[in-house]
Symmetry: C2
Subunit: 762 residues, 2 copies
């Protein structure tokens, strides 16, 4: 069972949720798990298909627009809908649509095959007139052919001679979902796509659309083939925007329908119609089962490097694989895209990329699929010029300030106290480059991309910070916790800036030594002089890290501890998340955190503080944290494990592991919580197993929750594949590929070779 | 000369500026000083007529709308334009318009008669064809008949037999001025008025309009009469929105044209047309000169109570009277309106009322025209329910939170860090009630309105603040200085909240003693119990007022002094005001003030700090203040005088006195800076004369700038009229009406009676 996620739900609320849970994607395209046959009219649905990064440019409105507030933002667009396949049974004068909400549903199961990379729905159905049949819908979004969304339907008659009409549609008349009362969802549902080409032949339907402002094009080419011999075909065009292929036949033996939708956009292809026809031709010789086999092979290769197993709790085993699977489905692999907050599963947060990728998702990819991690890192390099531009706009003479939310690199955040003010994103990006380097030792990537990013982000900190009493301080920023804004000396920001500055200096020395000529070229390019490097180091050394000597904790910022504590007892449950029930100013007035902030900093840069301070801080902040953000529980799980609260670590992990599967935050309909999914992996690997990547090696502090018999996972370190198991009686490290790895377990050094696994028994 | 403000300007940039400087108003209506004949097409103009408080409701757009962000705001509307009077000379086949920008201007003067309350333009003009005439345009907006805008034109022929065509227009096809790049001006110029009635007879033209959302109506009834005998009349209606009365005649002796425009709106009258006809009939028997005489009598009465004289600098004498005159013209006198940031002179800040009225304008009205002050205070009482509602929205259980900007009481600020976060406005309003009471001893007003306002605002502070280490602290607010936002323990806010709490307690005791039955009724109405009063006093006594013992100054807030100082040397002049050239976050990062904050607190509540601390604070903050706000220089003038910097006091006064006359901030075109105008009066009376209203009496610390020979002003104190002169050799206080006044001069007590003026010689 552990490779399958199953459901028998037919009620419309659960189906809305399942649109996200059962979405299919491959990092380039994402298709929500809408029903081929549609839903009753009154049912709420977010029918969506997306291309990673495919957006329009929309105006940001302001009541009072101040200087350097971004005027435009990007918005991921819902593109052409090719999901539609309706099956009607009965004679022309009385047809019934096969549907979960009419006729009689005798049996219904929906399955996500994690090992195969496909989804499936099996419906045993009987019409009011007594026609009975079984319909099996299979879907895949291909990792082999990135443009392909493949639907394969098998109809098996139970009663005899069923008159059938099948309507396959491709619909360009679409718009985005909007909810003006939820700031996490777009409030504007203006139609932003217009049809630029619509044509059809007996072989295929073609619909091309153009965006209103960005003038990007997207297109689908759709083919349908049916195994039955005697079919009549008919085409209907509605409003010049959709094409329906209508087929009629008699069902008296098993019949299949193969619908292939090829999707592409103008940022990848010049001649969309020609390119899609060529891709279709190339794929035409492969049957669905052959394509499904290629899909399964791709998945097998992924799982071989990435699988995590949990012994003792099936629900958790299901969840962790489910999460890893969806992370893969959403991750841009072309170096020009990243992972949106909701991946490719929905429109929440308008398809923007945030710090989530670097802090919550890259750890997993870096340690399991470094070649994919490299693509995600490359995306940030590709928008470095925009970040430089934004730094200038924000009044800095040098450096790069990454946008808080963006698709193509320009700032899309209109509420800057919890947007642009989160300067830490630049340090987060630098951190992810450093971690990648520590995991892979990939000096070539460091040289070509990483050093430049680190130097430019380090420059930002010199611009933003200042010295007072020999301490380097950073004022007027917002840390990760969005329930506190625009503060001085946010501990998280300062400690991450310090890391950024230190490593910019280290990378520089390294590149200087490895390739002095290249180093000189880079210095010239950036107009960098050596004194600047010295200033990086001085600022890092002088960085002010707030410390409260009475409480023995790191204050979240200069004034956090002076504020009144939020009245948690007087806050009714239905007032969470607070941001939907209180004005931000009211929230900022109190000691209350949306999410881990200082505690996250302790996770990322643990050597800056003693175990004692980390534990006291954990105790303190836990009491004032609502976890209203999905980026919080996993951090409290990891740091719970780190400071000796294994039970808490387990409890927080449970909240994080099934957050989407159980719709714990209530908004999974808008898309899956990607960062939280990455957090699940981290909670196991960096939490229970206590993994840390440090300059001098790979560290573990393995622990096992009492609820489990064991857990195991794979990681790659310096190009070598390791399998790590923690069981009730032993901790085992096997080297699956490579020669030799040194690592530290509970601070003791061990050497592992291919022939010599490490087994530590309790 | 000192009762006249004159100009000979004909260039279009100056004319734009003069639209504000020469506006006519009476607290109910305001007519910008546009030219009757209009301007060349390419010229920038803000052609405007306004009714105080006449608004539409417009949506506030947000990129990300958070909880309790206001969804709608009010916007002062430019109403029907009745200013148009074109004079054409020449035969039908070649007419020329009398204009400053065609033909030949032989002489031109524009005069504002401060004593008469009228404006005048005299144009000696010659057409290309050689017709020569003198046109005198007079205007008044009547204090006698509040609905009347009166234009009176005299045409004197210089050449003979001049064929004349006069076009008088009433135009309902108007909209507001917009500039999307200036946050101080509206960015939306959507048309918000539609014609609901348009009709004309030989006697009058009538145009009524309706607002788009608020469904308010405004109307004008316009009559034209000409002294010439043989005239032909014609009417033209354009687009169903404007009426032109076209008159033809031969000019061969002096001729006059009397145009009366009666303006009213549906918040004052039910039947607009009927009411305006009645008002017209009532006024019809009065000639222009009779109405002008009534205007002059009103002005005389105003000046008798309000005039300020300066000996030794004509420019300053002109400025101070100019400012007082415009304050009168803009002040709502009906108890339902206040004074907009730009008065009735323009559309800047969308006609909203701010704290400006209470802190910068009421001091003048309270001390010179207390009956008018009472009306302005009553306005705040009239919106108390809205303030109670807003407090609840902002998460408070009790109390009243006044909106930062509003017309009818609901919050209109969309950028809350420099809007709603300025909680101090509630304390400012409370302060103005206390000052009114101290000046007038008007217990009846206190009972009926003041106590309730003070109790409800005091309650707010108990809600917002909290105790820590026995100190009462107020977090997450913005003080007056808008270059620093959302801070803890803003000195200004805390000290004003303390005053609010103290006086809520004092007023309660007073009312309780004066009228126990009423007090019980009020307590019941407010569900107030005695323990709450005790808590007011405890919080006031425990109020934390930040103090830096090293610098001996009051820090502006908990973190201000830790920030880096703004790089003033590296900031080019054209980068001021900073808010138009730097992102707010950049500005918030530094020690830099837009305006007086702690220094203003020292002015308002001087007994909380020693002279030494006030002086050290003045020295400190002066160095980091840009005075980008027009609310700043006057405070630095007053406090300069207070702490012994008479030269500085004079220099700042000069900046403030002629700010609009000399267009120092460059945006007088959008309207006059009312608060600054009030500040001029304060700089003389509270600055140079050092007046303070305290619980135990009226205080002076008179000083004379060396540039002057003397100054004099009037005030009313406890119903008695005083004339105060400071001359080179003596300080004189005369009691013009009343029996006896005690006052403190340089902390020494004196008693003045009608027969016994006080003369202190140096």
């Amino acid at each position: 069972m552990s490779w399958k996620v199953q459901s028998n739900a037919t009620d419309i609320n659960t189906l809305l949720l399942e649109e996200s849970l059962f979405f299919n994607g491959n990092g380039y395209i994402g298709i929500r798990g809408n029903l081929e046959e549609g839903l009753p009219k009154h049912a709420k649905t977010i029918r969506g298909s997306y291309i990673n990064g495919f957006h329009d440019i929309v105006d940001i409105p302001y009541g009072e627009k101040l200087f350097a507030f971004p005027e435009k933002q990007q918005k991921l667009l819902n593109i052409i809908d090719a999901q539609g396949i309706e099956i009607w049974v009965g004679e022309d004068n009385y047809r019934e649509k096969v549907s979960l909400h009419s006729g009689e549903v005798l049996d219904y199961t929906r399955i996500l095959h994690l090992d195969k990379g496909i989804t499936e729905r099996v419906l045993h159905w009987k019409s009011n007139k007594g026609y009975e049949l079984i319909v099996n819908f299979k879907r895949l979004v291909s990792f082999h052919t990135r443009e392909l969304f493949h639907q394969f339907i098998t109809l098996t008659p139970v009663s005899k001679d069923i008159p059938i009409q099948i309507v396959s549609s491709v619909n360009g008349d679409v718009k985005n979902f909007a909810d003006k009362d939820d700031p996490r969802v777009a409030s504007d549902d203006e139609k932003r796509l217009s049809i630029s080409n619509l044509s059809w032949t007996d072989e295929s339907s073609f619909v091309e659309v153009q965006t209103k402002s960005s003038k990007l094009h997207a297109a689908v080419l759709s083919t349908v083939s049916v195994s039955s011999e005697s079919i009549s075909y008919r085409y209907e065009i509605n409003d010049g925007a959709s094409i329906q292929t209508i087929m009629k036949m008699i069902l008296n033996k098993e019949m299949t329908l193969d619908k292939r939708t090829f999707i592409a956009d103008s940022t990848r292809y010049e001649d969309l119609q020609g390119s899609l026809l060529a891709i279709n031709n190339k794929t035409a010789s492969l049957s669905f089962s052959e394509l499904a086999k290629l899909q399964q092979e791709y998945m097998a290769s992924f799982w071989n490097k990435t699988d995590v197993t949990i012994d003792g709790e099936d629900q958790i085993q299901e969840a962790i694989r489910f999460n890893l699977y969806h992370l893969l489905q959403s991750a841009g692999q072309d170096g020009k895209t990243s992972i949106a907050a909701k991946g490719l599963s929905g429109e929440g947060y308008e398809g923007h990329y945030f710090w989530d990728t670097e802090i919550y998702l890259l750890p997993m990819f870096t340690m399991t699929n470094p070649e994919l991690a490299r693509k995600l890192l490359h995306y940030r390099y590709s928008i470095l010029d925009s970040a430089r531009e934004r730094a200038k706009e924000m009044g800095h003479k040098k450096g790069a300030l990454y946008p808080w939310r963006t698709i193509i690199g320009t700032e899309c955040s209109s509420y800057y106290p919890a947007g642009t003010a989160q300067y830490h994103i630049s340090a987060d990006i630098a951190y992810s480059y450093v971690q990648y380097y520590l995991a892979t030792n990939d000096k070539s990537f460091l040289k070509d991309f990483g050093t430049e990013v680190l130097l430019e982000t380090a420059r930002l900190w010199l611009e933003v910070g200042h010295y007072q009493h020999n301490e380097f301080r950073i004022d007027a920023v917002t840390g990760p916790d969005e329930y506190t804004a625009i503060v001085n000396n946010n501990y998280y920001t300062n400690v991450m800036a310090k890391y950024n500055l230190q490593w910019a200096h280290k990378f520089s020395l390294l590149i200087q030594e490895e390739d002095p000529i290249y180093w000189q070229t880079l210095k010239n390019k950036l107009s960098l002089d050596d004194s600047e490097l010295e200033r990086f180091l001085s600022a890092a050394n002088a960085m002010y890290l707030p410390m409260d000597k009475t409480l023995n904790i790191n204050p979240q910022d200069d004034t956090f501890l002076q504020k009144e504590k939020w009245d948690f007892e007087g806050t009714p449950t239905e007032h969470y998340p607070l941001l939907l029930h209180y004005h931000p100013l009211t929230i900022y007035r109190y000691q209350v955190c949306k999410q881990a902030d200082t505690v996250l900093a302790h996770f990322l840069v643990e050597d800056e503080q003693s175990e004692y301070v980390m534990k006291a801080s954990y105790n303190y902040y836990e009491k004032v944290t609502t976890h209203d953000s999905s980026l919080s529980s996993c951090v409290y799980s990891m740091m719970g494990a780190r400071v000796g609260y294994l039970d808490k670590a387990y409890d927080y992990f449970i909240e994080t592991a099934r957050l989407d599967l159980d719709n714990i935050q209530g908004n999974t309909k808008d898309g899956l919580h990607m960062a939280n999914m990455g957090g699940t992996w981290m909670a196991i690997v960096a939490g229970f197993a206590g993994m840390r990547l440090k300059e001098n090696g790979l560290y573990f502090r393995p622990q096992l929750p009492k609820q489990w018999d064991g857990y195991a996972f794979h990681i790659q370190y310096h190009g070598q594949l390791l399998m790590i198991r923690n069981q009730k009686d032993s901790f085992i490290v096997e080297l699956l590929s490579g020669d030799q790895v040194d690592l530290y377990i509970w601070d003791k050094k061990y050497t592992i070779t291919t022939d010599n696994s490490l087994v530590i028994t309790n």
